[in-house]
Amino acid sequence: MDVLAKFLQQLINGIHVGSIYALIALGYTMVYGIIKLINFAHGDIIMMGAYFTFVCIVTFNLPIGVALITPVILCLLSGILIERVAYKPLRNSPRLSALITAIGVSFLLENVFFKKFGQNPIPFPQIINPSPISLGPLQISRITFITVLISVLLMILLDLFIKKTKPGKAMRAVSEDPGAAQLMGINVNSTISLTFATGSALGAVGGILYSIAYPLIDPFMGVMPGLKAFVAAVLGGIGIIPGAMLGGFIMGIAESLTKGYISSQLADAVVFGILIVVLSLKPSGLLGKNVKEKV
């Protein structure tokens, strides 16, 4: 394998993880865009998606199509429920209280699953054959192929949804100015619910793809990818949907190249280092607009 092939291989590894980060980052960025909340519980939606899939396949033995759709719907509903129960009552409270509540919800979900499924990480069933496909000198795992394909497809669909449909436009309006949106006859509450639903559904898909790539699930599995995806969202400019996608891919590729060429243990430092450099140069993220504060 020559130098170029190895580089391309590492790049592909990065795109694989990056596309999952991007999917998860979308959930963070959409929620932040609309209610300015860092939804710490989003990482646990990933975990829930993985566990629900596990239950559907292993416990109930559902056909694979149903077993993959059901968890997405369940996560979507959980997302709406969490917002209604835990965040909505705090919409007018100090923002930090809502943040701590989100952390509380995150702890709660983790520990409920911990109680239910026990302490041991569970092996996730093999859905896609991991053996690679040869493409010239490159070998690309089927898992990588399918993950990237699904992620990109979902991102395109999301983009169309937000730009072309009425509910999508309502989401943009509320995130721009909730007060004005309400005056225009937009139902703010249901729009927020819709945002949580969409974000959670994408998170669930991210969770399933993540568990296929790293087939070992545990109640705290969402924390790290959640944090990285969140950093990706900030990197791209939080609240901005294309920013989250861009941020996700940058994070994944940076991580993979660091592991491949420098040291696997410095990957996190490099990722956060990039964040610091970007924020120092562009304080509101790569695609963010600089907002001048009015006196």
Binding site: Q119, A213, S264, Q265
Partner: protein, 383 residues
């Protein structure tokens, strides 16, 4: 409505405060009562390495039940008090303090993984309490004090055995080693493997570390693949091994996978990915020795699952301790420690005596994974 809210929050504050105060006032429950012999257990019953903790703890409990059913030791029943260390050093220290100060135990069994064990050894050494870790394989564990023993073999030993096995039985000349830099166990075994393998004519073409929470090994494995090794040595616990093994297949590496005792249980995680691999272990369920088969039978009856090696080690640890207390005729720390040093018993993991560093001298089993089953491949003598 507002009133209700206020009431709720007041109650909540009250509950929290009352709880806080109650916590301060809690008193020791068990005073020194000499009708029982108290053995303290420290094991990760929850958390990442809980599998090992639960297994070791189950094994120990089984042995205690057996001993109590046949009349106990010195005519007294054993009381087993166990705390969860979650695989965490701070929790282990807390558990140790609680056992020694509050429960006033006569001896300690634990901890299960090396890191928490290393955290409590200085404390145990200072107090001279008899302490046996069933499963902590890190070299330094028993170095802290003459009162600290172990039931398992040590890390460097496992590494050397596997390196020797790779060179002699598999005729390997190029080896790659991936190890967990955050884990004494993984590091110790990897280092010993590398040194032995290189000293005896092999080349280690790739020697790469990864962090404890790593899940994505593809970048490292892509590098390993370019070196084309004969064997890939993965000394880590089986969950991680399962993850790495699947990614080994994804990247398309064809080397034979080798591992150490942390592999015990890997079949529950990734049976296809580790097929054809070898690892060394403390005992094998194939072993026809009477002690082994009896233990397996009883363990299955009690817990409804096959005992992994950690369960066998937990079981043996209690047997060793009970024999020592019986021999000492007292629970006096020094007398028990002296009796422990002279241990010579045959149990599930072999015939155990202690060397001058309080490490056991016993056989090692090398196990091959064949058709999704662990098969005893060969037994290696310590000499």
């Amino acid at each position: 409505m507002r009133r209700l809210r206020k009431l709720m929050s007041l109650t909540l504050t009250g509950v929290l405060l009352a709880g806080a105060l109650a916590g301060c006032g809690q008193k020791d429950s068990g005073s020194a009562d000499s009708d029982v012999i108290k053995i303290g257990g420290i094991a990760p019953l929850t958390g990442n390495v809980a599998v090992y903790g639960v297994a070791a703890s189950n094994g120990a409990k089984l042995a205690i039940e057996e001993i109590n059913a046949s009349g106990g030791i010195l005519g007294k029943k054993i009381e087993y008090i166990e705390y969860d260390d979650k695989g965490d050093t701070t929790e282990a220290v807390n558990a140790y303090k609680k056992l020694v100060n509050n429960n006033k135990v006569n001896a300690i069994i634990g901890a299960v993984t090396s890191k928490p064990t290393l955290a409590i050894t200085p404390l145990a050494a200072k107090e001279g309490i008899p302490m046996i870790t069933p499963t902590a394989t890190a070299l330094d564990v028993t170095a802290a004090g003459t009162n600290i023993f172990r039931t398992c073999f040590i890390d460097p030993y496992q590494g050397e055995i596997m390196a020797k096995f790779a060179l002699e039985n598999l005729n390997a000349s190029k080896a790659a080693v991936l190890y967990n830099t955050a884990d004494d166990y993984s590091l110790g075994v990897a280092e010993a493997f590398k040194n032995y393998f290189e000293a005896n004519g092999g080349t280690v073409v790739s020697y790469e570390g990864y962090g404890a929470d790593e899940k994505d090994y593809k970048a490292i494995l892509t590098n390993v693949k370019t070196q084309n090794p004969d064997v890939l040595f993965l000394p880590d616990y089986y969950n991680t091994v399962g993850l790495i093994a699947q990614q080994v297949k994804e990247v398309g590496i064809n080397a034979t996978l080798l591992g150490a005792d942390g592999w015990d249980g890997v079949l529950t995680v990734a049976p296809e990915a580790v097929e054809g691999g070898y690892f060394c272990n403390h005992y094998s369920t194939d072993d026809t020795a009477e002690e082994v088969q009896n233990f397996i039978k009883k363990y299955k009856e009690t817990y409804n699952e096959d005992p992994v090696s950690f369960a066998a080690l937990g079981y043996d640890t209690v047997k060793i301790l009970a024999a020592a207390i019986e021999k000492a005729g007292t629970t006096d720390y020094d007398a028990v420690v002296k009796a422990l040093a002279e241990t010579n018993i045959t149990s599930v993991t072999g015939t155990i005596t202690y060397d001058e560093n309080r490490n056991p001298v016993k056989d090692v089993a090398i196990i091959k994974i064949e058709n999704g089953q662990n098969r005893l491949y060969t037994k290696v003598n310590p000499q």
